[in-house]
């Protein structure tokens, strides 16, 4: 079973990982975007970390909804509302249980990912964070480690794609040959999950 502390540790690990990768994410966002994805997420997860320390929410759902709210109100850009929606909806789907099973979490995360798809209108193959999130949530039924591999593979598979959503879509054919920064950051978040699960 996963408790509030597990999700707190997830967010803390995600924040650390985003911190380390911020320059790389911004670099990825520069040929096909506007060179801010790393600093956007760093700002957001720094705020999430602070909020979790201040407010110490005590259920898995409360941890994730708080994190989502903080992302929405500190990140901006496309990724702020999208990642915010992901965590908020996942958190809401977890209800106010003190502990949740891995299956429950996998189901809730699917709700979150579906919400991101609805909000952003992106389908797999559009070269967005969805390309990492959708395979990850499918693989989560197996294990956290499987989800991590799936997210990473999904992120890497965005390189040859032509973007159809977000800023990169403005480039048309010229978006081909670059990894999507949001897919790369999504893979980081899933990897952080596997890390705190000890996998």
């Amino acid at each position: 079973m996963l408790d509030a502390d597990f999700f707190r540790r997830w967010m803390t690990a995600a924040a650390a990982s985003v911190d380390r990768a911020a320059d790389r994410l911004t670099e990825l966002d520069s040929p096909i975007g506007d060179a801010d994805h790393g600093s956007n997420l760093r700002r957001g997860f720094t705020a999430v970390r602070a909020a979790l320390e201040e407010e110490s929410p005590d259920t898995p759902g409360a941890v994730l909804t708080l994190a989502g709210r903080r992302l929405v109100s500190t990140v901006g850009g496309a990724s702020g509302p999208l990642y915010g929606m992901l965590l908020r909806r996942t958190g809401k789907a977890l209800g106010d249980a003190a502990e949740v099973s891995e299956e429950q979490f996998a189901g809730a995360l699917r709700v979150g990912v579906d919400a991101v798809r609805a909000l952003g209108g992106a389908a797999p193959g559009d070269k967005t964070m969805i390309d990492a999130l959708a395979p990850a949530v499918d693989a989560l039924g197996d294990s956290f480690a499987a989800a991590r591999s799936a997210a990473l593979a999904g992120a890497e598979a965005t390189t040859p794609l032509r973007a159809r959503k977000g800023r990169a879509s403005y480039l048309g054919e010229r978006s081909v040959g670059h990894q999507d920064p949001g897919a790369a950051s999504a893979a980081l978040l899933v990897a952080a999950l596997a890390e705190v699960a000890g996998e």
Binding site: G33, D36, V72, L119, G120, R164, G172
Partner: protein, 328 residues
């Protein structure tokens, strides 16, 4: 870059803006720029915002006859809903608020959230989307046309309608009409450098240019060997005219991207006017300057907006903001 550290660029700028413009209320902490006399009883209030780095857009357009408030995000990052909600609450007189939103995924999502939240607080909110950049085809394969120079026309003209006391639905309809009648095309001669990245966002060797660029440091649709000012004017005007067949006279914005000398921009305007005359397009008004910039990008954009008499009257109406000022 003339900065302290990347993290404080926007807050630093807002402090400096507050010092330069006592006629505005600049809330540095909450990142909203508000006209000093807001809310103005009985009048609709225009609120806009977007990533920073496009100055004077939008903060420089706050004041009588234009925006009631602007919400600057981080550099090239749309602002967060909290900012727009706060701005809307500060400027709403009860007559309602019009959000002017440039069509970027981030701006659209954040303004949508803000609109919901503001309505929850009892504020009547309308939205207009600016999507004037013809370099992007509006199709299933893109996030839709970007909002660029047309934003200035929308904010000025709808702002004048609001200043006159027209009701929200009318101000919204006018804004929509202007947005629908505006088309832009941009060209980069050099990339910009964002504080977060610290180096140019793309490589553009001297002697080459990018056609169809946006205002966020992204490359354009096509790279070409350097062209003359006259050739660039032809490319830009013709690109705009493929999607706008003006029967009425047009407003022309010849806009610098940030690092193009005004000397060159005026020269470019001369070429744009020549091409417009050759294409038989009647010109009502011309505005030349750095209005919708992309940090220190070298280049320019051309925006045309087809106007009827009513829109032209509203364009000519008095405006008093840091960056646009006439008639008062």
């Amino acid at each position: 870059m003339l900065i302290n550290v990347p993290e404080t660029v926007v807050a630093d700028a807002l402090r400096g803006m507050a010092a330069a413009h006592p006629e505005l209320t600049v809330d540095v902490e909450n990142r909203v720029i508000i006209r000093r006399d807001a809310p103005v009883p009985g009048k609709v209030a225009l609120v806009s915002g977007g990533g920073s780095g496009h100055e004077p857009l939008h903060g420089g357009f706050v004041g009588p006859g234009m925006l009631a408030a602007a919400c600057p995000g981080e550099v090239f990052t749309s602002p967060v809903p909290d900012q727009m909600v706060r701005a809307a609450a500060a400027v709403d007189s009860g007559a309602g608020v019009l959000f002017v939103v440039k069509n970027y995924t981030g701006d659209v999502l954040n303004f949508d959230m803000a609109a919901e939240l503001a309505e929850d607080e009892g504020i009547q909110v309308a939205k207009v989307l600016v999507e004037d950049d013809v370099a992007v085809t509006d199709s299933l394969y893109t996030a839709g046309r970007r909002g660029t120079g047309g934003t200035l026309f929308v904010e000025k003209i709808a702002g004048a309608a609001a200043e006159e006391g027209q009701p929200l639905e009318r101000v919204e309809a006018i804004a929509r009409q202007v947005a629908g009648a505006s088309r832009s095309f941009g060209v980069a001669l050099g990339a910009c450098t964002t504080p977060a990245k610290g180096s140019p966002t793309f490589d553009l060797p001297a002697g080459e240019l990018e056609l169809g660029v946006g205002i966020h440091g992204e490359p354009g649709r096509e790279r070409r060997p350097m062209m003359t000012s006259g050739e660039i004017a032809e490319a830009a005007v013709d690109a705009v005219l493929t999607d706008l067949e003006p029967r009425n006279p047009v407003l022309v914005l010849v806009n610098g991207m940030g690092a193009t000398p005004l000397l060159e921009l005026y020269g470019f305007n001369g070429e744009v006017q020549r091409v417009l005359a050759e294409r038989g397009v009647a010109v009502a008004r011309v505005l030349v300057g750095n209005y919708v910039t992309s940090l220190d990008m070298a280049g320019a954009s051309v925006t045309l907006c087809q106007v009827d008499e009513e829109l032209l009257r509203l364009w000519d109406a008095p405006v008093r903001t840091p960056a646009l000022r006439w008639g008062m």
